[in-house]
Amino acid sequence: MQLWLIPLLPLAGFLINGIFGRRFSKGLVNAVAIGSVLLSFAWVLKTIFSIDLNATHAEHYFTWIQSGALNVGCDFAVDRLTVVMLLVVTGVGALIHIYAIGYMAHEGGYYRFFCYMNLFMFFMLVLVLASNYVLLFVGWEGVGLCSYLLIGFYFDKKFATDAGNKAFIVNRIGDFGFSLAIFSIFRHFGTFDFGTVFAQAPQASTGVLTTIGLLLLVGACGKSAQLPLYVWLPDAMAGPTPVSALIHAATMVTAGVYMTARSWPIYTHAPDAMNAIAVIGVLTAFFAATIGLAQNDIKKVFAYSTVSQLGYMFVGVGCGVFSAGIWHLVTHAFFKALLFLGAGSVIHALSGEQDLRQMGGLRHKIPWTFWTMMCAAVAIAGVPPFAGFFSKDAILLGAYEHAPWMYWLGTLTAGLTAFYVFRAMFLTFFGGYRGHEHPHESSPVMLVPLAVLALLSLAGGALFKVPDFLASVFPVMQEHGNPTLMYISVAAGLAGIFLAWLMYVARPAMADSVATGLHGLYTWVLNKYYVDEIYDAAVVRPVINGSRVVLWKGVDAGLIDGAANGVGSRARDIGSVLRLMQSGSIRSYATWVLFGSVLVIVAMAAQWFGEAVLR
């Protein structure tokens, strides 16, 4: 079925644009970059309609590592879960690539941007298609690399390169846990292949599976920005907005959710690990939503929203409703990408302004952007019958089955979600314009993807019944469909919207009075609970100081250089002593000759004497 074409087409785009892109015209760069992604999407569609979706279609290409008992092949496999992920990655990816033509039109490094985007698509597709943990890890690391390259795209800005470093380093911590998990898997199962590992999982001991599950969770926390490793995602907004939409909303950050869902046979036999996933998910969802309430940068609001929604996906996966978590992944890709792309359109209209306090009243000036973003806003708020309602509701119902407190916290978070999204919408599009720019609507090449995503956000939940599609992949979740719970969560969303309308449209002064009234709490939330500062003091500074003082000055300069230089000094000292023999005077040489020959004679005599005594 030539599954290898799916990731390799974007890779070809990367190579062509990378090597020749400097000399290409913008049109040719576009054709190569977007063409490769569109072709990949077309091939995904062809694959879906050609293979039998009731079985896993696997392709083995070559043996990558063969060493004793260790055998890792380059294997791709497609089952229903893979199909869902492929459609999201290539479909939403293609739309964002098209949008980026308009957004990046006036930026420098045009071909470099599309190079990196194509490279990202390649790695993400490898991650999704992989059928063993090592190949998945290759894709995992690769998307982390591309995230670093794209966040630091404006490499002459220090805050951008710092953010890229932060993303990569924090991800590395998660990757460490993931690596340990992979080692454990090999130690206990002898293989990395999904099929074999998952077939053997039921026989393994719970302790082993829990350890593996928790280590995989560490990896997922890093990549999918959960507590305590979420700190890189808000800073990642330093990258261009299409990057935020593609990588930090729709695809890369969902890799952790995908990996966890894929490993469901391990997790269903390790209930403690699953519970840990759900707890971390719901706490992250709530925590990030509270931070999002007070942010003034439009992209930061959506960044914390992403962290929060990822928490929801983890709740779904951790409470056993895997397909609900994946469903939320899909719907979130639609509305979050739309929110980011719309925010990009707003920023573009205002020539770079990102502060909500400098916006306002834009709904008449940029109507297309307004209406498409409104579609996304109602979707994320969980208003029925739009996309977010179905998936979020499925997760909350599953949470109630697992542990009711998670349902209540999740519902409260749903209310907070609706509030902060609509706060952002009202501050941007309603009221009077508070800024100094001349807002202009974006070009069609940016608006058409917005429109497509808006349609998907509205209808995607009703049209794509993902849990039914995935029913044969995951264990069946009980359909308890308790209507009361559904009404409560919808009511929470609507209450959030109403409160936002009250505070930002009807009575704008109320927002400021609340902020001054709760001044301490407001400052604490506005500064993200000072988590970055705490990490800096507790982790970063000690490591830097330890590294600088102990390891660099102490060990490297002192010990190692000292040893190497010391050997040289000792050799020179010994040499200067031996040099005294070279006196240049013939008589002393003669004396040494005599002395040496006496020594030889004495030695020979001793040996002869010794033999004589022995005899």
Binding site: R579, Q582, S583, G584, S585, I586, R587, A590, T591, L594
Partner: protein, 103 residues
């Protein structure tokens, strides 16, 4: 004829001659005197060889003594050539003054 001069006397004489040669080699300043001491050492050893070959009634010692004499002659020729060159360049026969290899 050769009766009852004890062998040990010959060997003692050889040893004494050798010791004198060593002493002259170490302690004399004139290069030619040093060379003469070297020849003295070689001849002392020759005497020792001949003595043992007489004692053991073999001809090996005599043969080796011939070899030693040939080598001594060649070495003397070469050595004197070197001494002449040194004298032409340095103008002195004092070995303590031939020390330009010092340090």
């Amino acid at each position: 004829m050769m009766n009852e001069v004890p062998i040990s006397w010959f060997l003692t004489l050889s040893a004494v001659l050798f010791a004198l040669g060593v002493a002259g080699f170490l302690f004399r300043r004139n290069i030619i005197t040093v060379f003469m001491s070297i020849e003295l050492m070689l001849n002392a050893v020759n005497l020792s060889f001949i003595t043992f070959s007489y004692q053991l009634n073999q001809v090996n010692g005599h043969l080796f003594a011939f070899f030693v004499m040939v080598v001594a002659a060649a070495e003397a020729a070469v050595g004197l050539a070197i001494i002449l060159t040194v004298f032409k360049n340095r103008g002195t026969l004092n070995i303590d003054d031939v020390n330009s290899m010092k340090n």
